[in-house]
């Protein structure tokens, strides 16, 4: 398979499929758009499978590399490649795209072709982010992916969609500009290279390292999002359509975190160590402060959005502990959060399709009308609360164990998520699912249909499989994580 440009295919198949749907899709024939987008999404998923099966888990170099000059004047290259850190996200992204297409199948009736096209194009762009090895290429994908997401919220969103879309766009754009400036500095400083891998090797004095670190931090922190630049997320989620929320939670939040691994840590090891106290503090605030804020949310989507921020706090915490256990735990947490938060938002969407509300107070007693749904949501809620044997436990556990190695009190603060995370998730579950039936809309609910059941089953399978046997996932990242940490351990100050 190595003969095929798998990474290019992973990027361009969904984008081409999206463009094709835009070209042929008609409002009068939404069925055709749906079929085409499912084919496109499935083709995009299939093409990523050889990435896993042909991956050499013992190699420290980038794999499936593609390199072609793009803008030679500035030494900008179309340079793609993956390691054990980025490869799982390409598969995850392509998988979630299929889920999103299925999730919108009967639900989206307005501009079906454009809706699906936006998701497919975004999927390709996300894949581009995860495999770009050229700074400018990364930047182009990184920024371009904002546009479809902005449109998805702005066009297919709720009542307050325009406010949410603009807040989302401005917040993230703000970070990106600093990111570009930092890249230009690195370009000049390296004597004219945009290659991320070159930057990994390049010595940089402390002052510039700190400055670039801060620029990267702002760009990535907004995307993660980290406290205190997180407030766009709880506004974006309730306005986004179900598919938008799934993608936002499952993939878009991972971009910033991935940026830390690809840029901040290996390019700026000394600044990373110097400022790890800051990152750990911000992460712990995210875990604790956001946990309490999540507790009092009245809107399910806002609640799960806050819960996502808290979970991403664990991710950034893990990165800046610099131990293999913590970093791998953080990556596992990212992947797991893709499934669990995706599933949570899908579950909320199932209710929204029926009740046209995601307010907790509009629900209650759903278990009597939707027992199958309630059983699945119990599983995902427990995964969200980090119950062992679900994927949600694995990452949290590994990061906590890593934290204890480094500092007992960091672990103590982080471990409060065991209590707070269970409190906000299960309290919501209690009010939504249990108790007496509160209104006649709930009285009239019908349980999940076959399509919804299929999606729930697929997600449940991965949540359980990763919880019971995470080794296939952790196995592929060992070499890359160890290599990354070796980089981080070597000072670049000369």
């Amino acid at each position: 398979m190595s003969g095929y440009p798998l990474l290019s295919l992973a990027i361009w198949i969904p984008i081409m499929a999206g463009l094709l749907i835009l070209a042929v899709g008609r409002d009068s024939n939404p069925g055709l758009s749906r079929i085409l987008s499912l084919i496109g999404a499935l083709a995009g998923l299939l093409i990523t499978i050889p990435l896993y099966t042909n991956f050499d888990a013992s190699s420290t170099v980038m794999q499936f590399v593609e390199l072609a000059p793009w803008i030679p004047r500035f030494n900008i290259n179309y340079h793609l490649g993956v390691d054990g850190i980025s490869m799982p996200f390409i598969i995850l992204n392509s998988f979630i795209t299929v889920i999103v297409v299925l999730a919108g199948w009967q639900v989206i009736k307005f501009k079906v072709a454009q809706y699906n096209a936006a998701f497919l194009i975004m999927s390709g762009l996300f894949n581009g982010i995860f495999c770009a090895l050229d700074g400018i290429l990364f930047y182009v994908f990184f920024e371009a992916s904002l546009i479809p997401m902005y449109l998805i919220i702005g066009i297919w969103g709720g009542h307050n969609r325009v406010y949410a879309a603009i807040k989302f766009f401005l917040y993230t754009l703000f970070g990106s500009l600093l990111f570009l400036v930092a890249q230009l500095y690195l370009f000049i400083y390296s004597g004219g290279s945009f290659s991320i891998l070159d930057w990994h090797q390049m010595p940089i004095p402390m002052g510039p390292q700190i400055a670039i670190f801060m620029a990267f931090l702002i760009a990535f922190a907004v995307k993660v999002p980290m406290w205190p630049v997180h407030t766009w997320l709880p506004d974006a989620h309730p306005e986004a359509p179900t598919g938008g929320s799934i993608i936002l939670a499952a993939i878009a939040l991972k971009l910033g975190a991935y940026g830390f691994l690809r840029f901040s840590l290996p390019i700026l090891p000394d600044a990373s160590h110097e400022l790890s106290w800051l990152m750990i503090t911000l992460s712990l605030i995210a875990v604790v402060y956001i946990g309490f804020v999540a507790l009092v949310q009245a809107d399910m989507k806002r609640l799960v959005a806050y819960s996502s921020i808290a979970h991403m706090g664990f991710v950034t915490l893990g990165f800046f502990l610099f131990t293999p256990l913590a970093v791998e735990g953080a990556i596992v947490q990212m992947i797991s959060h893709g499934f669990v938060a995706g599933a949570m938002f899908f579950c909320i969407g199932v209710i929204y399709d029926r009740l046209h509300s995601h307010l907790i107070s509009d629900c209650g007693g759903i278990v009597y009308r939707m027992p199958i749904y309630a059983a699945f949501m119990m599983l995902f809620a427990m995964a969200n609360a980090g119950l062992p044997a679900t994927s949600g436990f694995v990452g949290e556990f590994m990061v906590l164990m890593g934290a204890i190695e480094v500092n007992f009190w960091v672990a103590v603060i982080a471990a409060t998520t065991m209590i707070v995370g269970a409190a906000y998730t299960l309290w919501m579950y209690k009010r939504v699912i249990f108790g007496p039936i509160t209104n006649h809309h709930v009285e009239e609910l019908t349980d999940v249909n076959k399509r919804e059941l299929a999606i729930l089953l697929i997600l449940a399978f991965f949540v359980m499989a990763m919880g019971l046997y995470p080794e296939p996932v952790t196995h592929i990242m060992h070499t890359s994580v160890n290599d990354l940490l070796r980089h981080v351990a070597i000072s670049k100050l000369q």
Partner: protein
């Protein structure tokens, strides 16, 4: 069949049963759900007995099934450790579970959730077996949380009852507080031992006995003390020790069979089991043992007090369970781990018996749980009466009964101990003998003897039902709501209590047998024989067990000797006092309650633990959340920072809004492509 397959059969048979019953719970006939789960647990019991036999023949096992995950230098596995402790726990769990499964056929016969219930209790059995069979801390934690999950599902089994879904959330969160400590303890083990496998950790423990760590400032803390206390906090949650005991009385919201199986016989003893399993660690920290001892003694005495004033038949047994768990914890605290496990075993049988007996009474009373409405039931429910009497005698440690051997051994062990706190513990466990007898026989006399109060109660209840049919869901006890609209609770006028069907009485009889005899036969091998050699570590600094062995001259002599001891006479006094209070002069208890109204109020409010938790933790968390949401999120971040740049946002938004005309989105897509195209064009032309 080789032994490894046999070991696998033990947990997997109930899992398969649970899966089959669970996935078909909406379509299968009832006999299928009951049959398939009972078959699964029966297979598991037979396999467990074979394993016990094999272990007694000297064959132990320690090995991994598969590698769960690897990271850095760590390997996490799933595997089994089969030794006498494990084999004994497996037999206790599967035998009680099997009897509870059979009992459920009768108890849940008219419940809509019949099939779901069977699936849950088999899933519980699987989880509990994985917990006790584990050979490492990670899998222990898996089982630990899985039993907590099933407990959560079962406490909230009647999902439309506010009290039930309040109780299950409370149980889960209080247990999570314990788990918070537990996982930190596990983390310390991993950080300092480099593995979570029992064998490696326990072998390496002595070399780290003097290791200290820096936690606050420059103070040096013993690693073992911190680790053991963290682990024990987990046990405090699961085994309901003060102050994390608050969930257990409320867990009585669940159906009675699970109160017997989960909240008396097995799950709540997981903490006791865990500490006994970790005896090589706890032995290295006298400080941690003192902590364990004091918590256990407090639980044993003060939770017993609360049992004295309860009127709900299940809550009396629940407080009794708290008190008995306190006894086990006391035994752990004086490093007499085998005695703790011994009491765990006898308690599993007689407490399951008492709970199932209470359930049988509840069936006979048509789901009335208030003992004030009962009386004289011995005439109508003879099997329930006799078996409950046997369970009660075992619980109060009447000589020759199982409970006598285990509980008297605990008191004696405390007597021989001299670690800090043992004086207090000795007082607590001795005084508890009277308390135990008081609440047990108070309930026994009121329920089975005396006047037939249900005659009056039925008329009152019937009148009440006409006045106010609305379900009293807010009632803190929630005992008169079974989740069925059509269900009239309590006996109707003219009705008489009746004996329960054989599926209910058969388990009672089967549990009565070990409640009488197992102590007599097991005390010698388990406490003074070689049963736990090499499994539970001997504490060299505290020769409690050795001292006791010198005093022990066989179970017969022990029972006869007990007549000269204080606990025996305290127990006899308890029987006499309750007989006088509740059979001869029933006005006395009320008069006492009035006289000591301050103490009564304190006890009636359960020492205000619940009120405190609701106000400070639950209420405080919500207030803090609301404050952060309003002030931190809305005012500071969004209000000041985001809207502080409102002008900028306004300007840019004004521009961006132009793109919101509905069909311009296609231009946006074109834009991305355009960026690429232009840059590429530029590349070709230069």
């Amino acid at each position: 069949m080789d032994m490894k397959s046999l070991y696998l059969t033990v947990p997997l048979a109930p899992l398969v049963g649970a899966a089959l019953a669970g996935f078909t719970c909406r379509v299968a006939p009832r006999w299928f759900s009951a049959g398939v789960t009972i078959l699964g647990v029966a297979i598991s019991l037979v396999a467990s007995l074979l394993v016990l036999q094999d272990v007694l023949a000297g064959h132990t096992f320690y090995g991994n099934l598969y590698t769960w995950a690897t990271s850095g230098n760590y390997t996490f596995s799933v595997g089994f450790q089969i030794d006498t402790l494990t084999a004994m726990m497996m037999c206790v769990v599967t035998s009680v579970s099997l009897l509870v499964h059979i009992y459920t056929i009768g108890y849940m016969s008219d419940d809509d959730g019949f099939r779901r219930f069977f699936s849950y209790i088999s899933l519980f059995t699987f989880s509990m077996l994985m917990l006790v069979m584990s050979n490492n801390f990670l899998q222990l934690f898996f089982g630990w949380e899985a039993v907590g999950l099933v407990s959560y599902l079962l406490i909230g089994f009647y999902m439309n009852r506010d009290t039930a879904i309040f109780a299950n959330l409370k149980a889960f969160l209080v247990n999570r507080v314990g788990d918070f400590g537990f996982i930190l303890g596990i983390g310390l083990v991993l950080a300092y031992f480099g593995t979570l496998d029992y064998k490696t950790v326990f072998d390496a423990a002595p070399s780290l006995a003097d290791k200290t760590i820096n936690l606050v400032g420059s103070a040096e803390w013993s690693l073992m003390t911190v680790t053991c206390i963290c682990l024990f906090i987990g046990a405090m949650g699961k085994s309901a020790q003060v102050p994390l005991h608050v969930w257990l009385p409320d867990s009585m919201e669940g159906p009675t069979p699970i109160s017997a199986l989960i909240h008396a016989a097995t799950m709540v003893t997981a903490g006791i089991f865990m500490v006994a399993r970790c005896s090589p660690l706890f032995n290295l920290s006298p400080t941690a043992l003192s902590f364990v001892l004091i918590i256990g003694a407090t639980t044993a005495l003060f939770m017993g007090f609360l049992g004295m004033i309860q009127n709900d038949i299940k809550r009396i047994v629940a407080y009794s369970t708290l008190s008995q768990l306190g006894y086990m914890t006391v035994a752990l605290g004086v490093a007499a781990y085998p005695i703790a496990i011994f009491h765990l075993m006898t308690h599993a049988f007689f407490k399951a018996l008492l709970f199932l007996g209470a359930g049988s009474v509840i069936i006979g009373m048509h789901h009335d749980q208030d003992i004030r409405n009962m009386g004289g039931l011995w005439k109508y429910m003879p099997i329930t009466w006799i078996t409950t009497l046997i369970g009660s005698l075992s619980l109060i440690a009447f000589p020759f009964f199982s409970g006598f051997y285990s509980k008297d051994s605990i008191i004696e062990a405390v007597h021989f101990s001299n670690i800090p706190g043992s004086g207090y513990a000795l007082f607590a466990v001795t005084a508890s003998v009277f308390v135990t007898t008081y609440y047990t026989f108070r309930s026994y006399f009121i329920v089975f003897h005396g006047p037939e109060r249900w005659n009056d109660a039925a008329h009152v209840a019937a009148a009440h039902a006409h006045d106010d049919h609305a379900h009293d869901a807010q009632d803190a006890h929630g005992h008169d709501d079974h989740g069925h609209e059509e269900h009239h609770h309590g006996l109707q006028p003219g009705d008489k209590p009746h004996e329960s069907p054989w599926v209910v009485t058969f388990p009672l009889i089967m549990l009565a047998i070990p409640s009488v005899i197992i102590g007599y036969f097991a005390i010698d091998p388990m406490l003074y024989g070689s049963f736990f050699d090499g499994v539970i570590a001997v504490n060299k600094g505290m020769p409690v067990m050795a001292n006791m062995e010198e005093e022990f001259h066989g179970p017969l002599a022990m029972a006869i000797h007990s007549i000269q001891t204080v606990p025996f006479w305290l127990m006899m006094a308890g029987i006499v006092v309750t007989y006088y209070f509740y059979m001869v002069k029933p006005s006395i208890p009320d008069a006492l309650a009035k006289k000591f109204s301050g103490i009564y109020k304190l006890m009636d409010n359960k020492y205000y633990f619940d009120a405190f938790n609701m106000a400070v933790f639950a209420g405080g968390a919500r207030k803090l959340g609301a404050f952060l949401n309003r002030f931190g999120e809305a005012t500071i971040i969004d209000g000041f920072f985001v809207n502080g740049s409102a002008k900028l946002v306004g300007v840019v938004a004004g521009i961006v809004r132009h793109f919101q005309t509905g069909y311009l989105y296609q231009y946006a897509f074109t834009m991305i492509i355009g960026v690429f195209a232009l840059l590429t064009l530029w590349f070709f032309t230069t």
